[in-house]
Amino acid sequence: MNRELGVSLGGVTLAAVAAATLPFIGNDYFVGIGFTLLTWIALTEAWMLISGMAGYVSLGHVAFVGIGAYVAALSWQVLPVWGILLTAGIAAGTLALLVGYPCLRVRGPYFVILTFGLSELLKFVVVNIESALVVSGRVLFGAPEIQNLFYMMLGLAWVSLSVALIVRRSRFGAGLRAIRENEEAAETIGIAASWFKLAAFALSAIVPGMVGALIAMRISYFEPLDFFSPRTSLLIVTMAVVGGSDKPLGPLLGVVFLVLLQELLWANLPQLYMIIVGVLLIGVVVWIPEGIFGGLQRLTARGTR
């Protein structure tokens, strides 16, 4: 492990320890916001593995969240909470392995649309299964307290960020970046591109699956149309790109920015909030294509020169 990686991992761990004090100092409202923040951190950092590093932009990551939530709803009170989380992660990873092999052969816009289509297909399959079973929404009785869920989500966000940092520094991450820059050239120098992509895709699915299970416990209700909503996939991409850059810190900024904006505006002016998000989104993509993080880096670089 080199020194820089050690420093950033240490920093992330310190931040996680600091965040762990939140349930002692804040009320349930703040713990709830913290839970939401950590949810999106875990999701975007996981998404970055395949979409940021390998350049395969997935617009279907909600499928993994949804499958995790579905696993939680099905195995509620059958398995213990840790067993549910484990199963949800395994289910999402397996799903990624199954669909990843055919999907990762197509690139660029085709991959974007394909992942979107698959997540929608899965949504309607689950909707139909549920209506065939004559179930309309599943209630999870006796779900854990928000404080406990907060700690579990904190753990997932920590894992997600650490994995992103470690992969970035590893030979595996270098291979993924080579694939992003030029897949043919990467294969020529001996990178097994299809295995690298498949591994990154599966790895990027596991945490979202577990996140889905935790969200189901938080809401204590499962309804396929909510849990498989394409809005989630779009928000993941939005947060990652608004934050910007392929460094793990970029998406973190995007998440904090958008979640806090939502907390400030959503309750009073939902339509105005959406309009502001739209304007910001366009503004960031067009004027600071490297994202908030990249923009800040550029500014500080200019300042020190």
């Binding site: 932009v57 055919p102 394909l114 289509g117 739209g278 993509v285 067009v286």
Partner: protein
């Protein structure tokens, strides 16, 4: 019975073909993933609705207004966002994700501005809905008008892309952007024109939709999805393919739902979509291999 179904398929398919044609033009020329396309259908529908409610203007007379308005909005988006962004290497490098997000932004702005101004209520109007019977089937007059006008626009666009110099220039741009620039085609101007035509056609499709269905600020998203399915079936950037693909999807959807049931509609559409993407990503009608 089956003739009746075929007519229903034609109504749905001709609207799909129009919406998808516009989307394909914008994707084909500039490689932009336009997820706001359905919102332009919505705007066209609102123009027709207000035209008939306020001034009892026939939707067919409101159509030119809708086309000019949506094409103008398209030009505005082109000038304010894409003319600049297409010159930035950082934007073009990740054009899928970036254009997706820009249009996602456009889409939520249009939806929420419309909802703020006109409320989010469902609206509708009655227009020529007496039934006409022929050949053992019956159809309301407004649906016949949808088929006829949409059909005319489709035929006109086939001629436009096969014969006119502008249509050929657009096709050249879709096939080989760099080469088109080299032979002297004004790329930026054609981009703008494709934007205007693409959004204008979407607005026109919206007028037709409003004649037979209820409208709301959030009606656009399903049209965006359907249009993407159609241009995948017909081939990304294949203008004629999207017309055939639209009709094919209309037939598939109508007959599929009639034989299996409405709850399988979405599964079927996405199933076809994924099947085509995996097995024949260049589209059913495209020659050779797709550019990836």
């Amino acid at each position: 019975m089956s003739f009746q179904l075929l007519l229903a398929a034609l109504v749905a398919g001709s609207v799909y073909a129009l919406v998808a044609l516009g989307l394909n033009l914008i994707y084909g020329t500039m490689r932009l993933l336009n997820v706001a396309h359905g919102e332009f259908v919505m705007i066209g529908a609102y123009v027709a609705y207000w035209g008939i409610s306020l001034w009892s203007l026939s939707p067919l007379l409101a159509a030119p207004v809708a086309i000019v308005l949506t094409a103008g909005l398209g030009a505005l988006i082109y000038y304010s966002i894409f003319r600049r962004a297409m010159r930035s290497p950082a934007f073009v490098e990740r054009i899928e994700a970036n254009s997706l997000l820009v249009f996602f932004g456009v889409s939520i702005i249009l939806q929420n501005v419309t909802a703020l101004v006109f409320t989010a209520n469902l609206r509708g109007y009655r227009y020529d809905d007496e039934l006409v019977s022929f050949g053992g089937a019956s159809l309301p007059v407004n649906k016949i008008m949808v088929i006829v006008t949409a059909g005319l626009v489709c035929i006109a666009s086939v001629i436009f892309f096969a014969r006119s110099i502008l249509g050929l220039a657009i096709k050249a741009l879709i096939q080989q952007r760099e080469a088109a620039a080299l032979v002297g085609i004004p790329v930026a101007r054609i981009d703008l024109i494709s934007f205007c035509i693409g959004f204008g056609v979407a607005g026109f499709a919206g007028v037709l939709v409003s004649m037979t269905e209820q409208i709301s600020p959030f009606m656009g998203f399903p049209f965006t999805i359907t249009a993407f399915v159609v241009i995948i079936i017909g081939g990304l950037g294949n203008v004629l393919g999207s017309l055939l693909g639209g009709l094919l999807l209309g037939v598939l959807e109508t007959f599929g739902v009639a034989f299996t049931g409405p709850s399988y509609r979405s599964i079927m559409i996405y199933g076809v979509f994924i099947g085509v993407l995996l097995l024949r990503p260049q589209g059913l009608f495209g020659p050779g291999r797709a550019r990836t």
